[in-house]
Amino acid sequence: MPTDISEIDTITHDVIVLGAGGAGLRAAIECSRQGLDCGVVCKSLLGKAHTVMAEGGAAAALGNADKRDNWKFHFRDTMRGAKFLNQWRMAELHAKEAPDRIRELEAWGAVFDRTKEGLINQRNFGGHRYPRLAHVGDRTGLELIRTLQDKGVHSGLSVHMECTALGLLTDGGRVSGLVCYWRETGRFVIFRAKAIIFATGGFGKAWRITSNSWEYTGDGQRMAYDVGAELMDMEFTQFHPTGMVWPPSVAGILVTEGVRGEGGVLRNSEGKRFMFEYIPERFAPETADSEEEAQRWLDGDDSSRRPPELLTRDVVARAIYNEVKEGRGSKHGGAYLNISHRGEAYIKKKLPSMYHQFKELAEVDITKEPMEVGPTFHYAMGGIRVDHDSQMTNVPGLFACGECAAGLHGANRLGGNSLSDLLVFGRRAGLGAKEFIDANPDLPALDEAQANKILDWAKAPLMRESGENPYVLHDELRDAMTAHVGIWRDEEGLAAGIEVIEQMRARVANVKAHGSSQYNPSWSEALDLDSLLLCAEAVARGAKMRQESRGAHSRVDFQGEREEWGKYNIVIKKGDDGQMSIERVDRGEDPPHLAKIARATLEQLEAGDV
């Protein structure tokens, strides 16, 4: 029976930002600065979003720790790390604007670690030519989110906490509202707005071993897809090389790349520093080829090259995976990561939360003994396709920024580029929304039939007499994705993964949430399954189509990059028949003014020739 929509609370703002992580808060602050009435809707409490888990730092070519750095090096590193499959314009904007976004945070109260001159200090990270990551020990994400939260509290934002979004509404193709429910009471609420910004993060909770939090269920990707938005680069899922592997209950929890940035060394069970065996040709001229050279670099010798532990994440993750597979893994199936040579005081100052994490969860003292680490699902490079400057999707009035958007990171994201991504493109989404609302100032109409369809879907798991256990279904999906759509993929496994997903879709349609609608985790678990399945299917289908290995996407049956595939991004959308449609989209010609920077040698860039 249709619900009488007039009985449901309606809240109207100029713009709704969905998600209160770094991207959402930065977008909301910008909307507010532009004079818009902005509502922030988030499914957890304010300040708890996934950004809080970011550890290592935010990449920005401030040039504080090494004066040679500038936006061109950052841009080149980002393009190369992404294996040239990211969007040129986004990488350009990101590299150019990140320093101002970091300085702005400082003016809003962030307290980064300092250089001797009293400037914002920067640390080394994988794939970054110079020390570039503004950081606060190993809790940079917390610093970011708290700064934005405190700024937001005094920016006139209306924050609607513990409010879960269910689906988008449209009016003549333009986005018009968002149907949600309050977690506390289970009551539905409809938000109406002239523009909506998605900052909903990733979907790592579809995998067994992941560093992602409870919230990462792909809600934004699913809701955007349902109203016709395009998803891009979904096959590129980043496996961070260093997650905890022991004990089982904490497997997957992130061990910051900062450990390697501060001089951490990876060894196998034979004591061999194996990363020297895995240096890709493209990076060989810039990587140390002996332990002695790597040590000289760590000691501050500018003429030495970087240790191979600081190669990009895709390379290090595959190397660890391979060492384990070939029988040289650590006791519990990982690699040994040792930082103890840096001394207790230094480690406690620079990596305090790593120290506590291992001490409290694994009874390992990292100032004295090595950690055991292995790959963990960490980040979705792909997501909602957006306009490079405004962050608007192909659905008018719908914007996306942060991890839920695609384009900046291509085939592989560099560490530290996500926090700067949030700031640069969060702000840009706010500006984009302002521009859109100026051109389209009327509040779009509310379509009751659309709202009713979403409400019926949401109520179904509660109303059913009986059905499958959502927790068990979620578990099965996670195991299937880790088994079939993991770090190494092949045709057979991907086909099997897609089959599991298809079978599961029928079972999810029969899922049962026991209890009432009030603060009921099994209800939210049941509703999350559709989003998780959508993202899982998009990743698996994209991965099956891309017959090459590039960045984070590795095919056993198609090893190495294929030139042909470098010309395309894979775009997924809902077809007219309701089925998932997938196609290769030509990237077009490389923009010459940017290509010459990205393809320059370091020597040319350092000499200022480009």
Binding site: S44, L45, K48, A49, H50, V52, M53, R103, E106, A107, W108, G109, V111, D113, R114, E117, G118, L119, I120, N121, V136, R139, L142, E143, R146, D150, K151, V153, H154, M161, E184, S213, W214, E215, W246, P247, P248, S249, V250, I253, P352, S353, H356, Q357, E360, L361, A362, N469, P470, Y471, V472, D475, A513, G515, S516, Q518, Y519, N520, P521, S522
Partner: protein, 251 residues
């Protein structure tokens, strides 16, 4: 470790409730939050419990475990005697929504009362400068993950229910962090006494004891703020100087 554990969980809402016991299989290295997830999966799917990161970084899964305010994601089952029942209940200081979830919105309202960070004009070269030694203390306070365990254990808030008069330890260190920030230009000392209630705290250090981030809330945050208030309002020399010269607004 035994292969099973019994968890005694408070079930109910704001008006009524009782403890219920659930027994689940456990694995090596498990934390209390893992056990709660086992209960949700196998016995009580609608058991309400906040959690996000399960890595001690977000401060969502605060509760009282065997009577002690703790993060359930950082409390290992092996900390408790083998075979002993572990009891979990919601934070006592805040109204219960359902089961282990409490209404902590009061805390968010306190933050809104605090005058935000206000830096001076940016230097011409575009960079503020601060020395590491001058920001170490501020960074200690900024480690706070807003788990509100300190607020829960603070007897001013917990037993005396003086929420109108005292912002609690979490926001005392928020004020301290702003006051000790080398760049900040605002004077919050009068508000610290009059609005935030610094005089209410009688330094029992319970907040410091429960802080999962090991922030020295009392000694490094609250006591120095109390001293600043005393210097400003109760130090005879300062009072005379201020009366005569209008001096000493900012100690």
């Amino acid at each position: 470790m035994s292969r099973q554990r019994t968890l005694r969980v408070w079930r109910g809402d704001g008006s009524s409730g009782q403890f219920e016991e659930y027994t689940c299989d456990v694995d090596e290295g498990m934390v209390v939050l893992d056990l709660i997830h086992q209960v949700q999966k196998h016995h009580a799917p609608d058991l309400a419990c906040r959690w996000n990161c399960k890595a001690g970084k977000c401060g969502s899964c605060s509760m009282e475990i065997n009577g002690k305010p703790k993060l359930s994601c950082m409390t290992r089952l092996s900390d408790y005697e083998e075979g002993a029942v572990i009891q979990v209940q919601p934070l006592k200081t805040f109204p219960i929504i359902k089961d282990l979830a409490t209404d902590v919105s009061w805390n968010f309202r306190q933050n809104e009362r605090i005058t935000p960070f206000t830096p001076p004009q940016l230097p011409e070269d575009g960079d503020y400068r601060m020395q590491q030694v001058d920001v170490d203390r501020v960074q200690e306070f900024r480690k706070c993950i807003e788990c509100f365990l300190c607020q829960d254990t603070c007897h001013i808030l917990r037993d005396h229910e003086k929420k109108e008069g005292f912002v609690g330890p979490r926001f005392m260190i928020r004020v301290a962090q702003l006051e000790m920030h080398p760049l900040d230009t605002v004077d919050r000392i009068p508000a610290t006494r009059d609005e935030y209630g610094s005089g209410m705290c009688n330094i029992t250090r319970c907040c410091t004891e429960v802080c999962p981030e090991h922030i020295n809330i009392t000694d490094n945050g609250i006591i120095p703020m109390k001293e600043r208030v005393v210097d400003r309002f109760y130090d005879p020399v300062t009072i005379v100087l201020r009366r005569v010269f209008g001096w000493g607004k900012r100690a």
